[in-house]
């Protein structure tokens, strides 16, 4: 690559980085701390957006996401709080649009039953298997040693006794 074309490329990249984002996105403003009317309201907002899931970046909650839609939805939640809506009404508003998916604590119904009951079922199955294994093991009759095994045991015991004696003598 010639120095000249390299310069052109850098200018192009710079242009993309600096100018394009400004052009591309019609960004709405995030909630500023001073917009809250009280500490209690701020706290309520924080708790609400922490319990709501960002639909764009799915492993983040609404509080942590920087996606443009998350910013819009934070604004939406904020305005509903200002309008005196209850937490339930705010959750319903979002569920009506994006489904139970937006709730980190989805309601219990047929589509979410596996989600809620699943872990308990797994737990009960695991505990049952464990108990069954323990019972079987403790009730199993002890196997008598074979002739060779009891000889070996005697030899080890004698050796041990011998060693202890020797240590005591020293």
């Amino acid at each position: 690559m010639s120095p000249h074309s390299r310069t052109t490329l850098s200018v192009l990249v710079l242009f993309c980085v600096l100018v394009m984002p400004a052009q591309a996105i019609v960004e709405s403003k995030d909630i500023m701390p001073e917009e809250f009317q009280s500490e209690a309201e701020k706290q309520r907002f924080k708790e609400l957006v922490a319990e709501l899931r960002c639909t764009v970046c799915q492993n983040q909650n609404l509080a942590d996401s920087n996606a443009s839609l998350a910013v819009d939805l934070r604004r939406e939640v904020f305005e509903m709080i200002q309008a005196g809506k209850t937490d339930q009404e705010i959750a319903d508003f979002l569920v009506a649009r994006y489904g139970d998916f937006v709730l980190y604590k989805p309601p219990f119904k047929s589509t979410t039953a596996v989600l809620w009951i699943g872990p308990f079922v797994f737990f009960i199955v695991a505990v049952s298997i464990l108990i069954a294994l323990i019972i079987r093991r403790s009730s199993a009759p002890a196997q008598p040693l074979s002739g060779q095994e009891s000889n070996e045991l005697n030899r080890v015991l004698q050796q041990a006794a011998h060693d202890t004696q020797k240590k005591a003598d020293e």
Partner: protein, 177 residues
């Protein structure tokens, strides 16, 4: 024999779950709006800001409502197909121009063609939220009564059109308005 089989069976189950997981599309969140009336909107038209396009304009015919933006790369990918549908299949496509600058959107349509009957200019994305738009492009199939019947998340491609949307439109055309 069973002792050696148990881990093998467990492993097979695990593989089964992971294999299914590979093919799931976490972006495709089922929309609660399917079967519900299309959310109301009343927006300035993109091409003519003085007049408006509203949800009542959708009534009485089967329509596609396509949420798009000029900054959206995958919208470009489906644009050619939308042009084709509007021209040859006589499909009524309404657009929600989502969080876009008017001038950018107009330039986009000028360059790539305009498949839309009308476009609502949803500058602040408020209508997009009401429609549960997560990311452009998304396309809704709305029946004659104005009920949402299907939602496509991501671009429509020839395959989705042929197997899902085209048959649905045909079926909806038969229904009473």
């Amino acid at each position: 024999m069973t002792r050696t089989l148990i881990p093998l069976v467990l492993f097979a189950i695990l593989v089964g779950f992971l294999y299914v997981g590979l093919n799931l599309k976490p972006r495709e969140i089922p929309s609660p709006l399917i079967g519900k009336p299309a959310p109301e909107f009343d927006l300035p038209r993109l091409l003519d800001p003085q007049s408006r396009v509203a949800s009542k304009d959708l009534l009485g015919k089967v329509t596609l409502v396509n949420a798009w933006a000029s900054w959206c790369v995958s919208c470009r990918a489906e644009h050619q197909l939308l042009m084709e549908l509007a021209k040859n299949q006589n499909t009524q496509i309404y657009g929600i121009n989502y969080k876009d600058n008017r001038s950018d959107a107009l330039r986009y349509l000028q360059r790539l063609g305009n498949p839309y009957v009308a476009n609502g200019h949803d500058l602040n994305g408020r209508v997009g939220i009401d429609w549960g738009v997560i990311g452009t492009p998304e396309t809704f199939v709305v029946d004659k009564q104005g009920t949402i019947r299907y939602k496509q998340i991501g671009p429509i491609n020839a395959d989705v059109w042929r197997t899902t949307i085209a048959p649905l439109l045909q079926q909806l055309e038969q229904e009473q308005g």
